[in-house]
């Protein structure tokens, strides 16, 4: 077990592209850190640099206080779980798990003891004599984990270990990974492109975009206080609603209507003028008829026609189309492209609201909607910055 420090770690490829630029991160001993971002953001490259499978172009990587830039993977004493599992097909499960121990020249008894122990933890005991070809996807995934934990390394690196599993199994394995990490207390760096995995697994989440860190923090902090448009749009499902807005005469003009600026927003907006993007999470809308008077004044109301209502049982997702211009910013286009919805035709913006299950709104109804103004975020479209954050929160931004 050890801490991992990345100090201005940069990866430049021979053709000049910067895959990772000046990556700074201190991972404490025993911490579970998630690197998340859309494909091509440099998260896997960063992981491979920690592993030693990719050279570090500049900067310093320290594991346990020791500089390891020039050390071979085998001398770093870290284990890795691959997306493809990378099990050795010519070896049985037992031989697969014993392989790192054999290379470490442990005695036969010790190897057997450790393999049996790891197999018990991962419920692989019955499969020890099978070949990987005769295992299911979930079993293969567990063998890959077993091969990593069997030699008690200083740290685990996991490269999208669950992305090849089907949805149900993935949720199951998520808790397995989480429990295992808590139980072993080994420093873990986990790469994923799935924001749900990032939110549920990590002690801290690192959001990356185009080779640079966007924000580092605990999952709830990233959700509640996103530094910029990219983080705001990436974290959360369904994602945050974005609409264009302007500020004048103490009120916020949006295509939903004019909202009064409260004390919170007015103080932040002192030095901001011109176009803005307003961001509202689906749960910060509510069916106005269900709002108690005591909190009604914290928000504003507007009317819209519901296109679609999805009842989830616990709550209802209601979709509206808002006429007028769409919010546009480089970050939002990138997010849409990553989600594959960049070229969906639509007039106006789509609005997703999460109402409580008691709401009687039906498709085609014109509903009165209440929006919680305490929770809205305002972003500067030119640089994506969240202008509603406290000064103290904007640390960790690099852009």
């Amino acid at each position: 077990m050890a801490d991992i420090v990345l100090d201005k770690v940069t990866k430049a490829f021979p053709d000049g592209t910067l895959a990772v630029q000046e990556f700074n991160l201190e991972i404490a001993d025993g911490e579970f850190v998630i690197l998340v971002g859309p494909s091509g953001c440099g998260k896997s490259t960063t992981l491979n640099m920690i592993a030693g499978l990719e050279d570090i172009s500049s900067g310093e990587l320290r594991i346990d206080g020791q500089r390891v830039n020039d050390k071979a993977p085998r001398d770093r004493d870290i284990a890795m779980v691959f997306q493809s599992y990378a099990l050795y097909p010519n070896m049985t499960v037992r031989e697969n798990m014993a392989f790192p121990l054999k290379l470490a020249k442990l005695s036969r008894e010790e190897i057997d003891r450790k393999v049996d122990e790891a197999a018990k933890v991962l419920e692989l005991t019955a499969l020890l004599d099978r070949k990987p070809a005769n295992l299911s996807g979930g079993q293969r995934q567990r063998v890959a984990m077993g091969r990593a934990i069997v030699r008690s390394p200083k740290a685990f690196l996991m490269d999208e270990p669950l992305s090849n599993l089907d949805a149900k199994l993935r949720v199951q394995m998520r808790t397995v990974v989480s429990r295992l990490q808590k139980r072993l207390g080994t420093t873990t760096v986990y790469v994923t492109h799935d924001q749900t995995e990032a939110m549920t697994l990590g002690d801290r989440v690192v959001i990356m975009r185009a080779g640079a860190i966007q924000q580092v923090g605990e999952p709830q902090e990233l959700y509640d206080h996103p530094n910029n448009l990219f983080v705001a749009g990436f974290i959360g499902s369904p994602s945050m609603n974005f609409l264009p807005a302007t500020v004048s005469d103490g009120s916020l003009h949006t295509s939903l209507g004019d909202f009064p600026l409260g004390e919170r927003l007015r103080s932040r907006l002192a030095d901001v003028s011109g176009d803005l993007i307003v961001g509202i999470r689906p749960e910060h809308f509510e069916d106005a008829s269900l709002i108690e008077d005591s909190i009604r004044q914290r928000g504003a109301e507007f009317e819209a026609t519901a296109d679609l209502v999805e009842s989830m049982g616990s709550d209802k997702y209601v979709y509206f189309t808002v006429e007028g211009e769409k919010a546009s910013a480089a970050e939002l286009e990138e997010l849409a492209a990553d989600a594959g919805s960049g070229d969906l035709p639509s007039s106006g913006s789509n609005l997703v609201c999460r109402f409580s299950a008691e709401s009687r709104v039906k498709e085609g109804d014109t509903a009165r909607i209440w929006v919680n103004l305490d929770k809205i975020h305002l972003f500067d479209p030119s640089n994506g910055r969240n202008v509603t954050l406290h000064e103290g929160r904007s640390s960790g931004v690099s852009a």
């Binding site: 085998r74 493809s84 990378a86 392989f99 790192p100 290379l103 295992l135």
Partner: protein, 273 residues
């Protein structure tokens, strides 16, 4: 549907007959007595093993067989070992001159061998390699290597690179990763390549006849052409046929035994799929 099936079946039959009739004809000749050898019957009227007994009694054939096996095995071994290393590098590494290396090996594979016979003859005579085992082994390796490199690099490309990364993370050196993880997976490919290279060496007639002059290093295909009857007036057809059958047998056995290894899915299960 069935019409198409019959047509294909018929076509297959024609091809098989066309390919196999000459082989059967040689086999038939090898069992005929000298008196009936010219009778033109497909099935011998009088069966005899005399031809086989004769060729194994002559030093000429046995010695040639030893040469063929020895030269073939040594050439194959060297070509496959060198080819494995070269193919691994080509499949896995980016190094300056990689394209050039692939180009040159393709060039050698395509080069008309007959144009090299005279220069090789002169070179080998002047440096004393003429009519020796190395004198044949060297050109065989030269022409076997491109074949080995091409087949093996295709095999190496099929092996997921993640396996090698995983081995390195598990604490293996580059050498250990190759020896303990990659090499066992490449074994079917190495087998296939070895068989192909061996068959190439075994069948070669051009170099064997040009670069040898005595029984010391003459291989079977070349030795066949030096067979003579017991007297000047006796026809050696029976003996030649028997020898031809004998040298065909190892090739048939190879293919039958290793057919399954050649088309093997050993890498299945390594990665999701």
């Amino acid at each position: 549907m069935t019409g198409a099936k019959w047509r294909w079946g018929f076509l297959d039959l024609v091809v098989i007959v066309f390919a196999l009739i000459p082989v059967l004809w040689i086999a038939s000749l090898s069992f005929k007595t000298p008196a009936t050898i010219t009778d033109g019957d497909f099935i011998p009227r009088e069966w005899t093993l005399e031809n086989y007994r004769n060729i194994f009694n002559t030093d000429q054939f046995v010695r040639a067989l030893v040469n063929s096996i020895g030269i073939g095995l040594i050439s194959t071994l060297v070509a496959v070992v060198l080819g494995t290393m070269a193919a691994y590098a080509i499949a896995r590494l980016d190094f300056p001159g990689k394209k050039l290396l692939i180009g040159i090996s393709l060039l050698i594979a395509m080069f008309p061998q007959v144009s090299l016979v005279s220069p090789l003859f002169e070179i080998e005579r002047s440096i004393g390699l003429f009519d020796t085992w190395p004198g044949l082994i060297l050109p065989y390796i030269t022409f076997g290597l491109p074949l080995a490199i091409y087949t093996l690099s295709a095999f190496f490309r099929q092996i997921p690179w993640d396996l090698e990364k995983a081995a390195k993370m598990d604490g293996a050196t580059q050498g250990e990763a190759f020896r303990r993880v990659i090499a066992p997976l490449a074994a079917p490919g190495v087998f296939t390549t070895a068989i192909l290279v061996f068959i190439f060496c075994w069948n070669d007639f051009l170099f064997a006849i040009s670069l040898t002059s005595t029984e010391r290093s003459r291989t079977v295909p070349a030795a066949l052409s030096f067979f003579q009857g017991a007297s000047q007036f006796e026809d050696p057809t029976g003996a030649i046929s028997a020898a031809a059958v004998i040298i065909t047998i190892p090739i048939i056995l190879f293919v039958l035994f290793f057919q399954r290894r050649i088309v093997s899915g050993l890498t299945s299960g390594a990665v999701k799929g």
